[in-house]
Symmetry: C2
Subunit: 356 residues, 2 copies
């Protein structure tokens, strides 16, 4: 049995999108149980539509809902201990749930997750990992915006975190891992990236096939299973790809409505276009997975529809089912046992966090 | 009369692509003159096919051609003073040409351009600017890979350089300028970016409409005329966008050949698809413009066809015609006259360069 805690108030649409998604997943995964947090008067009517869902769910009323435009500090001030988002995260900490899913605002969810769950013992900073569609399938890309800048040790943490996720989600025993850089030659790029590359090559880990540097265009090609970068470049890469996809969708719409012939062609090819639109639709992607915390938190896209939110739940389910946290902890222990200097040379920011 | 120096040996195809491009431009711009550098036995036969081009061109034989895979240091060692690439850049320095175009390797061309032309008096580092197709037309994005990292002063330099280019190429009197960041709020992002933002807002320059921060997806939207970032993030954004465009082209091809209906639709819409392919084809983009040097150097895409190389020449032509360098120098002078501390607080790397 896998128990998932749900912040029903997150996202642009709230319970109206979240609850039907739970029903979808409950049908597909009979061993799933939900712990749902949200405002009674909004969630109960939706739940009433799915009696079968009610059988596998517990619901708890929360007075407070974090708003999509709350700053992380505001959200913590108003929503700590009592908002649906906080309660959903806390359920993971207390053991009431194995993973938490929210479509709420990313900064608030990350702030609450860090505060409540804490980073893993040897991890300085959490990362947000995206599942990136590629020509070969999907890749894990991290960090896409949890923090700005990363030293070599933090990049290695991200590599280990991302590898654990790729093993859990793709079922690959030894995922290929690349460090995002401005060239593939070993002499190119930021010092931190070069140092991380040397250390990963030397570490030669059993669970990770270190490929070397990759460039921006390798992400869409699917050159590696895991692309590692710091949060500034990663966030810009992710948003630039989303922007490019939207831009080309715009060109395509314009091209298909320009002439009569094109319009006729569109009618014939409509179902092919619909499939293509699905592939290009960033709103359908699963948002981000928070890695490096003592618990699994999945951030679904704020604008996600029920299918998108269901996909985010199933992603969390798969990671629990495949023991993501145990895998990551085993790999971190193994790496640090062989590289004891790596741990002593880093400065932790956990103490600062606690005072926020 | 505008004189353009041409490295005929650059690019994947060399003179066979370069020389026909010159003919195309010579027809469209009767006041253009070319100074061509390359290997006699390869260039002369191509030139012989276009007697009209020969009338507006001078040709100089160069024994050495920089290879596409030469490292910058190798290229400087073997090619300085004598390669076709060096000679083309040197023609700008000596005044024999107003701008230089090469499809040769970027690192070598930048190394030679820095060595030969030097950076402008108040500029620490040159930038490579890309013309980025957007939903609204085109934007200037810089730096896309000349150097890694940039402090606030260097970001401001890039903003001034990019503004000059946008004014010259788009004919906009006061281009909008955005700093690439991971959020649009003033409190977000790298310290350098935040400081540059404050300084640009305070400077309130007559030639520049400072918009604020922009995110990765704003580039394709065309939110601003000029997007400013340091070279690491800029290069990753550019390559990620190229990769995404290629990825979607792959999806489109697959979608249009999957069913009979889709194939029929494709036949009807073929000309629309051809137009779309042209828009998405990164090989047709003009490569990059080197900014911040005492001379105009345009790097055409290595894989460019004749139309692509012709576009790069016309870009250089337009920048000369519209007094790019004078505009940039006037803006730099104006900025530094009002912000004298900006100049004294920076460290120049010009001396180091001279010893390379």
């Amino acid at each position: 049995m896998i128990r998932i805690s749900i912040d029903a108030m997150g996202g642009d649409h709230g319970p109206a999108v979240v609850i039907p998604a739970l029903m979808t997943v409950a049908t597909r995964r009979p061993d799933i149980r939900f712990v749902i947090y949200g405002r009674e008067e909004l969630v109960r009517p939706e739940l009433a539509k799915f009696p079968k869902l009610a059988e596998v769910s517990e619901f708890f009323h929360c007075e407070i809902a974090v708003r999509m435009d709350d700053k992380p500090s505001q959200a913590l001030r108003h929503g700590r201990w009592k908002s649906s988002m906080w309660k959903a995260v806390e359920a993971v900490k207390s053991g009431a749930a194995d993973a938490c899913i929210s479509a709420g605002n990313t900064g608030a969810l990350m702030a609450m997750s860090k505060f409540c769950l804490r980073t893993m013992a040897t991890i300085d900073r959490p990362a947000i990992a995206a599942l990136w569609p590629t020509l070969r399938g999907e890749s894990v890309v991290l960090d896409v915006g949890a923090t700005i800048g990363a030293d070599a040790h933090q990049l290695i943490d991200f590599a280990i975190l991302g590898t654990g996720m790729a093993r859990s989600v793709f079922g690959v025993a030894r995922p290929t891992v690349g460090l995002l850089n401005v060239g593939v030659e070993e002499i190119k790029g930021q010092e931190e990236v070069k140092e991380a590359g040397r250390m990963l090559r030397e570490a030669n880990m059993a669970s990770m096939n270190y490929h070397g540097f990759v460039e921006g265009d390798d992400i869409g090609k699917g050159t590696v299973d895991v692309v590692v970068t710091e949060g500034f470049a990663g966030n810009i890469a992710l948003k630039t790809a989303e922007g490019t996809a939207r831009q080309i969708a715009g060109y395509l719409r314009a091209a298909m409505s320009r002439t009569l012939m094109a319009k006729i062609g569109y009618v014939f090819a409509k179902s092919a276009f619909d499939r293509l639109r699905e592939k290009m639709d960033v709103g359908r992607s699963n948002g981000g997975v928070f890695l490096g915390l003592n618990g699994i938190v999945v951030k679904s896209h704020g604008g996600a529809d029920s299918d998108g939110f269901a996909a985010a739940i199933e992603l969390g389910y798969d990671m629990v089912r495949n023991n993501l946290l145990d895998r990551i902890e085993a790999d971190l222990d193994l790496f640090h046992a062989r590289n004891p200097h790596a741990l002593s040379s880093r400065k932790s920011d956990v103490v600062i966090d606690a005072k926020e």
